[in-house]
């Protein structure tokens, strides 16, 4: 069923992989629970702008219930042997894989991204993430040291208990899994609030795995930021809060956390430079093709990626020749029906996001940046009410607003640099430091320049790869802490030190 010549069948049509309910509830304590106030909100698809289901408009009472259920479950889950926790995570990965087309189609419908991407990235990476944390938790060991012949120090990792997680809307299921997999592996119970724009796929996922997890281990509560998100972030019984989003809310979450002295991890985005040095053009070969494709990565996921390579820095000596090739590649970006596996970029995730990107196209032009490609909305004949924008290339300088702000759209701002000194000046002249790309054939540059770029992730001769065992996180205003990689377990654990004396003699102090 379901994959036609023209692509996937629309959800809620005959033969489609996805049939949504008309309304969903919260997943709390292993059950589907209606919001206390009985209110729901409409969830439209950015693909066609039409409402396809409703989700709970939860408030403090619902968050309180979820936190309570998580606390009731935490002792049992925390004491579940790691081998068993690991096995459950492996089964969750399996369920994702068995249902990958259904989850991928839902992700495309809820978020707007092309099915090609949700099938190739979101869903397989989510499954792999569970497998990775199922693996590393088995291998985790703590340290024991002998302080003196009669004194032993032992470190034991303990789960925090109950953690709150607020998820962004750009990779809705994958970002939920990035946060829940390490938390669950480490023995925590989770209260998770999906983004308002993309609340649904994670609920379909919960339906798939609800028989695997003990009730209360994973709780999902939908709602609006000022009502449900804030209730979660300020909850005194949450041991930790993790957030992906923007700087003002990041600061607000830290302010709330300071009231209860709770740890936070924050991922707040970036304005990532993608640097092309002159050696890239030294040969006309497959590597050059790869670099040109690397330039075009700004359009991946409609630019709605925290590490979107939204500034391209190109060495002056190769600028014209490189840009000629790059623009030809941009021309080949195929827009259209997000359900068609040939489509490369889909719809922006929401109407306000679309309006914001349009406002940046406007200020870019007003600041006299030159439009080299796109610069306008895209009229999708099939979906006239969807939110589509043409891949856009601006040429300008790093002081322009389009070079300094995360537009979160398929927009790249291009500028030139003379030498390594200027390269670093421009690359690091930003408030953020999440990602960066560096393209070079010079091995010395590949290391030394990459080390000097102030960013948590520097892709060298590649871009937009997100394997589970490479740490991801920001320098500067891009946030605090890391995601992915086993070091993530530390963000979800306490360290218990047992300092044990085997000496039978009193110390003689009193």
């Amino acid at each position: 069923m379901s994959v036609t010549l023209s692509g996937y069948k629309k959800p809620n049509t005959e033969g489609s992989f996805v049939h949504y309910k008309s309304q969903y509830d919260n997943f709390i304590g292993g059950e589907w629970v209606a919001p206390a106030d009985g209110e729901y909100f409409d969830n439209p698809s950015p693909v066609d702008g039409k409402v396809f289901t409703r989700v709970p408009r939860s408030k403090k009472k619902d968050i309180d219930l979820a936190v309570q259920k998580a606390h009731e479950a935490k002792e049992k889950w925390g004491n579940t042997p790691v081998a068993k926790r690991s096995k459950i995570l492996l089964k969750m990965a399996e369920r994702i894989e068995q249902n990958r087309q259904m989850l991928a189609l839902s992700e495309t419908w809820d978020n707007g991204k092309p099915i090609r991407e949700s099938m190739a990235a979101d869903i397989p990476l989510a499954a792999d993430h569970f497998r990775y944390f199922a693996g590393v938790i088995r291998g985790e060991e703590s340290g024991v040291s002998e302080i003196d012949p009669n004194t032993v120090s032992m470190h034991i990792k303990e789960p925090i208990g109950v953690v709150g997680q607020i998820i962004p809307w750009n990779f809705p299921l994958l970002m939920a899994v990035w946060k829940m997999a390490p938390a669950l592996a480490a023995g925590n119970c989770v209260v998770l609030k999906p983004a308002e724009q993309t609340p649904v796929t994670v609920l379909l996922f919960a339906e798939l795995v609800q028989d695997l997890l003990p009730p209360g281990t994973l709780n999902i509560v939908n709602g609006f930021g000022p009502e449900a998100g804030q209730a979660l972030a300020t909850h005194p019984d949450i041991g930790k809060i993790a957030f992906t989003g923007e700087t003002t809310t990041g600061r607000l979450i830290m302010q709330f956390a300071s009231e209860n002295i709770k740890p936070v991890t924050l991922e707040l985005g970036g304005k990532s430079p993608n640097v092309f040095t002159e050696s890239v053009m030294a040969k006309d070969d497959s590597f050059l093709e790869k670099a040109v494709e690397g330039f075009t990565m700004f359009a991946l996921n409609q630019g709605e990626v925290c590490t979107c390579p939204s500034r391209a820095l190109i060495q002056e000596s190769i600028y014209d020749e490189f840009m000629e090739r790059a623009l030809k590649r941009v021309e080949k970006i195929r827009m259209g029906d997000p359900l068609d596996p040939q489509t490369m970029i889909g719809a922006q995730a929401s109407r306000d996001q679309y309006a914001k990107i349009m406002s940046y196209l406007d200020i870019g032009k007003q600041e006299k940046a030159k439009v080299l490609a796109g610069g306008e909305a895209y009229h999708n004949e099939q979906y006239p009410d969807g939110f589509y924008i043409q891949p856009t290339v601006f040429e300008g300088n790093n002081k322009m607003r389009i070079f300094q702000e995360e537009i979160f759209g398929p927009v790249v701002s291009v500028t030139r640099f003379k030498d390594e000194k200027e390269l670093l000046e421009i690359a690091n002249d930003t408030l953020y430091g999440l990602g960066a790309g560096l393209w070079t054939r010079d091995v010395h540059q590949a290391y030394s320049i990459a080390r000097k770029i102030e960013a948590g992730r520097v892709w060298v001769n590649c871009y937009h790869q997100y394997p589970a065992h490479a740490a991801f996180g920001g320098y500067k205003q891009s946030g605090i802490g890391r995601e992915t990689h086993k070091m993530m377990l530390d963000h979800y654990q306490q360290t218990k030190n047992l300092l044990i004396s085997y000496d039978q003699t009193p110390t003689g102090l009193f």
Partner: protein, 129 residues
């Protein structure tokens, strides 16, 4: 000569501010940066977001103070901001989210003449009333 304001507000946005003020009391704005819903102005109950030495007060819109972090302001200061409203389902803790609308910034660069005559900004904590 009258000083040129750094931040303005549309009539549509004023009506939303009135509506939110009726519901929540006095309000404030803080301009966000970064990913997802970044680059959007956030509306909070006055005092809910703690302004620090790292913020600047750009001015007042319809009775609400409008702040931005001073580091971000360094990159924004050559543009005049207008707070507008768009339909849409934003995330974040901004108070208008449940209404299914979102505050949005429209911008324009100041002219050379205006740049010499802009409203001065105040450091956040000093700017607080």
């Amino acid at each position: 000569m009258e000083q040129v304001p750094r931040v303005l507000v549309t009539e549509k946005a004023k009506r939303v501010i009135d509506q939110l003020r009726d519901q929540h009391g006095e309000l404030m704005f803080h301009q966000s940066g970064g990913c997802c819903d970044g680059s959007s102005p956030m509306c909070f109950k006055k005092g809910q977001f703690r302004i620090g030495m790292s913020d600047v007060l750009l001015g007042e819109i319809h009775g609400c103070e409008f702040y931005m972090s001073s580091s971000q302001f360094q990159y924004w200061k050559h543009t005049q901001l207008t707070v507008d409203i768009t339909e849409g389902r934003g995330a974040s803790f901004s108070l208008e989210i449940p209404l299914g609308i979102r505050f949005l910034i429209r911008s324009r660069p100041f002219t050379q003449e205006e740049i010499g005559n802009l409203t001065p900004v105040m450091e956040g904590v000093q700017g607080m009333k």
